[in-house]
C-alpha cells in the first residue's frame, strides 16, 4: 500500500520546506524510514536550502517507537541524501514536540515518563538517535539540528489550531525563522489601536 507523503516533483524552485508529521498511532521506524525516503526522493529536483521536519507525538508513542532497530537498513534513505542535496541544503532541522500521556485510543499513559527530564532522556535514546541514524549524511556534514520540546498539554490537537500548550523546556534555541514559520509575526502591526486608546485614556 502507498505511504502517505507528498510529491514535490512539480515544485522545482522550492527553497524552504517544513513538514509537520503527526498521527502517533502509526509511528514506527520502518514506516518512518520509508516515508522520509519517499519524501527525500521527491525533493531531488527542488532547490532546497532549508528543510524542517516537525514530529509531534505522545510519550506512549515514544515508548512504543523505541530505539532504531539494528535490523533496519537505512542505506536507501542515505542514498536519497545525495551529494547535490547535501550541498544545497544548509540546514535540516528536526523538531520533536512531546506531549505527556497517551494517544487518544491508548488506554493509559506511561507514568515512568511523566517527568520532563526522563522524557527528554527517552527522546534522546529513541527518536533523536534514530533520526540521527536516518540522516547520518546530513549529520556528518553538520547540517542536522535536532531540537526537543516537552509540553505539558494533554493532546496533540492543540498543535493544529495554533493554541499552544505550555512548553516545559526547549532544548537548543529555536531560530526566528522557526518562530515565524510557527505563526509568530516578524513585524508587529502598525495599528491605531482604537480599543486600547479609549481604555488607556479613560482609565
Amino acid at each position: 500500500m502507498p505511504i502517505d507523503h507528498f510529491d514535490f516533483r512539480p515544485n522545482t524552485k522550492l527553497r524552504t520546506l517544513r513538514l509537520i508529521c503527526h498521527d502517533p498511532l502509526m509511528m514506527h521506524w520502518p514506516l518512518l524510514l520509508r516515508t522520509l525516503e519517499d519524501q527525500l526522493q521527491s525533493l531531488q529536483s527542488a532547490h532546497l536550502q532549508r528543510v524542517s521536519f516537525d514530529f509531534q507525538m505522545n510519550v506512549d508513542t515514544l515508548v512504543r517507537l523505541g530505539p532504531f532497530p539494528d535490523s533496519l537498513d537505512p542505506s536507501s534513505v542515505h542514498k536519497a541524501q545525495n551529494g547535490e542535496m547535501l550541498l544545497r541544503v544548509s540546514e535540516l532541522g528536526i523538531h520533536l514536540s512531546i506531549v505527556p500521556g497517551s494517544p487518544p485510543v491508548c488506554e493509559r499513559s506511561s507514568p515512568l515518563h511523566e517527568d520532563p527530564s526522563s522524557t527528554r532522556e527517552l527522546v534522546e535514546k529513541t527518536a533523536a538517535a534514530g533520526l540521527r541514524t536516518i540522516f547520518a549524511p546530513f549529520d556528518a556534514r553538520g547540517a542536522l539540528r535536532i531540537t526537543t520540546e516537552v509540553y505539558e498539554g494533554e493532546t496533540t490537537s492543540k498543535f493544529y489550531s495554533g493554541a499552544s500548550s505550555t512548553p516545559l523546556s526547549v532544548e537548543d534555541n529555536v531560530s526566528l525563522a522557526d518562530a515565524s514559520s510557527a505563526g509568530v509575526p516578524e513585524e508587529p502591526p502598525s495599528h491605531v489601536l482604537i480599543g486600547q486608546l479609549a481604555r488607556t485614556v479613560e482609565a
Binding site: D4, N11, I20, M27, Y160, S190, H191, I194, G195
Partner: protein
Amino acid sequence: MGLLAPAESLRPVPPDQVAVQPYPYRGRGGGHRLHRMAKLAMHVRTCLPLLVPLQHDELYQGITITSRIDFDRLSASARESTRVRERLALTRHLDIRSSAHTMPLVFGRLLPRLETLVLGEGCMSPPIHRSFFLALSQFPNITSLTMFGLELFNFTELRNIISRFPLLTKLSIIDVSCKHVPADRIAASIARPSPLRSMRLRELVIRGAWVAILHGIIDWLTASTLTCELISRLTVYGSVGEGTRHFQQLLRVTGRSLIDCQLDFKLGVSQRDDHAMPSAQEGSSICR
C-alpha cells in the same frame, strides 16, 4: 488633498491624552526594539482629529477596531470630521474584531485605499446578510485577506467573502468553521464554477480549519489553475483523518512558483476514500 490642516485649527494635544509607547517585540536578534510605528494611545473621539499636528499620518494606515464602542466612535468621528475622513482615505490596513457585518456599509467609501483586511475573532454572527457581501465590493484594492476565529453559516459565505476581492494575492483562513450546516453540503457549493477569474494568489495560509472546509477551499481555489499557479508561499495545516490528495492538488497547481512550503501530514497509509466528505461532527478539536 493636503495632509496637514491649517495651523490655526490645530489644537495642542494634552499630554494626559496622548502617550506614545514603545512597541516591544522579539526581533530577529532575539532582543526587544522599538517598532518604527510606535503604539499611540489616545481617546478616539477627542483625539482622532488631532492626529494631524502629530504628523503621524502613517499611523492611520492601520486601524484596529476591537469593540462595538470603537466602531461607533470611529464612524461618528468620520461623519463629523472632514479631517478624519481624509485620514481614513489613507488607511491601508483594517483589522476588525467587532461589528464587521456593518463595516463595509459604513466605511466602504471612506477607505478607498484599503489593501489589507482582517476579519477576526467572531466579528460577525452567522448568517451574514447579503448586503455585507455586496458592500465588500467597495474595497476593490484589497490584496490581503485574513479570516481567523470566525464562525460562518456555510461554505458559501466563505466563498462569497473571498470572491469579492479580485486583486487578492494573500489569503489566510485560520480557525474558520461552518457549524450551522452539515458538512456534506459543502460539496454541492464547491461544484459551482469558480468566480475567481482575475484572482492570482501569491500566498495561501489555511490553518485550524475543519477538514471539510480545508478540502472545500482547496477544491474551489484550484478549480481554476490560474488562481493558484503563482503561489510562492503555501502553509496548510490540517490533514488529520484524510489523505494527501488535496495537498497534492495544490502542489501540482503551484508547480514552479512554490518557494516556501509548510504542510502537515499523517504518517501512515494513504486513504483511498478521499472523496468521502466528513460529517459535521468534524468541528471538534481533534479534527482541526
